[in-house]
Point group: C2
Chain length 343, copies 2
């Protein structure tokens, strides 16, 4: 990794994530509370506040990484954390709308250790809840953003949604393609994960009244960090510790997912790539032995090293954007925790 | 019907719909043109501009009723039509996003005489295109609304989306319910169809710089008109002329849809209601004779008359809202065409 990670950095990042979550939660609860039933109850379940019946629960509300980026980008450009809370909540609403829709498209039955919305309430309600959370982000921004930068924030968030849709389309299309180039993969990831984290950085800077160049820099920081986050995610999807991730070892390989290590391995022109392609082109479910073999092949073909290099490079680019290092400590702490995450 | 319809009124309404479509189209084309591929191409296909390959086509772009309401509400409160064009285009984007999602949920294979988006590109892309059009409405409003009323317009449009989601949820839930009360039906229709038409009226008035009471009145006009529109739609879904609608006679009955005439009939406590309930509770596909029988039963149980009365009542409420009749001629012409539509 690019930056050495210190215990202090980790602790600070954990603090920031907790702070972002705690600050956003009242805004999210009020906003979700304005939804008509049963959308309100479904949303509260999704955020981990309630069980399916609406009774209080203590589910995992998610990492709040995007909210933390908004707040850290805002404080890095001179504002108090409270200034950016509504922007952070709006970004989280958009993020969660996209998760709920993605779970439908990917037919994922579990998120944050609980049944997904479509799994509990069906596909139609999951599509509707996603659209409702998307809509909710608007009044949250209108209520909470400084008026002078509201238009810019609204347009940036809408543009991020459109890029996310493009990225998710590409990700879905990879499932049925026999070849995906590394360039195609990087473009997909920039839409799917980079765009919203970029807008998180930009919105934070806007809340602080930053100039155009700083807003653009914070967009770039978030975007590169998002890519590093995605590549780290891809590495965990293959080599993550099942005890930590809660998913079987080699999970992405078992699903024949074309994540970055696999895409890079398949593009390597090595013998291992040829054998890996055979495993990926087959329709037969992978046995544990196949998964172990695929894992070795991705590594032998240089896919693991390559994905790690891309992650390091994006992280270096993200941190390189931060000119005023003195104030950017929180952003660097978040970057560290993204680069070294293990789940 | 409440108001006598004149040929002049019809012609004026047809003119207004054409004008609204022609005025919005450049805004919609520019907006859709900003989408990344393949979302751009899918959107252009949906609007009837292009075929599936992106080559020019002359598909049915839809009625543009909501756009016409925005523009007529704006001119009725003193503005030039051009003032409200962006608001009209934003409302059309939201309407079309909801159509694309609804077609997924309802598994409808055809819209405006062409295969639906999910039918051509699959469910995932239809969900994504819907979300992208939803997002596109934001920059269109930000670009084109007068700054003083932008926040109000954004919040109203978002609230309409949330009500639509609630209404669509209820409509879907009716499919699996054995009993639906008329009250439940009316509440569903107000969300599904009334809310967006209400916001169309309100946004038009906002564009004209109208006072709060006028904006509220235009919201109410659009909302009641939307309900009348929905009830007329329900009547056409059973008694529409197949040569005009392009759908088989008794289409909604064949699908055992719980539309207003059916809901009212089932709630009538008549012998016809009992027999109709038996037909509706069965799993056996309806024969042409069953459909004919169901049609007679709905009529005998008073469902047709009741739905017509509700339509008349909502239309009277819509027109009753218009205090300054001198300037409201265009709105009344639109109401006339809604009340007397046959497809």
């Amino acid at each position: 990794m690019v930056t050495g990670v210190s215990t202090t950095g980790y602790n600070r990042a954990a603090e920031l994530l907790t702070l972002a979550r705690q600050m956003c939660e009242p805004v999210l609860r009020e906003s979700v509370g304005s939804l008509p039933e049963p959308l309100r109850r479904m949303a509260g379940y999704h955020f981990g506040w309630w069980d399916v019946t609406g009774a209080p629960a203590t589910g995992d509300p998610g990492k709040s990484l995007r909210a933390a980026i908004v707040i850290a980008a805002s404080t890095a450009t001179g504002a108090r954390p409270a200034t950016a809370v509504h922007a952070a909540a709006a970004v989280e609403l958009v993020h969660n709308f996209s998760l709920i829709h993605d779970d439908v498209m990917d037919a994922d039955p579990v998120r944050r250790g609980r049944a997904t919305i479509w799994k509990v309430w069906g596909t139609a309600d999951a599509i509707l809840l996603g659209a409702a959370l998307h809509a909710l982000a608007i009044p949250v921004l209108v209520t909470g953003m400084p008026k002078t930068v509201l238009d810019d924030a609204l347009v940036r968030l809408a543009a991020a949604v459109i890029e996310m849709c493009r990225g998710q389309h590409e990700d879905c299309s990879f499932e049925t393609r026999r070849t995906v180039s590394v360039e195609q993969y990087l473009r997909m990831a920039e839409g799917k994960t980079g765009a919203l984290m970029g807008s998180a950085g930009a919105l934070g800077a806007l809340c602080a009244g930053a100039d155009e160049a700083t807003v653009a820099a914070m967009d770039r920081f978030g975007r590169q960090l998002g890519l590093a986050f995605q590549f780290a995610d891809d590495l965990i999807g293959i080599w993550g510790d099942p005890a930590v991730t809660g998913k079987p070892a080699g999970n992405d390989l078992a699903r024949r997912k074309r994540s970055l290590p696999v895409v890079a391995a398949l593009a390597s022109g090595t013998d291992a790539a040829v054998e890996l392609a055979q495993l990926y082109d087959s329709d037969i479910p992978m046995s544990p032995a196949d998964i172990g073999r695929a894992m070795d092949l991705v590594e032998a073909a240089g896919g693991r090293r390559s994905a790690q290099q891309y992650a390091d490079q994006k992280m270096a680019e993200a941190i390189g954007v931060l000119r005023d290092r003195g104030r950017a400590g929180d952003l660097i702490a978040l970057a560290d925790v993204v680069a070294h995450r293990n789940r």
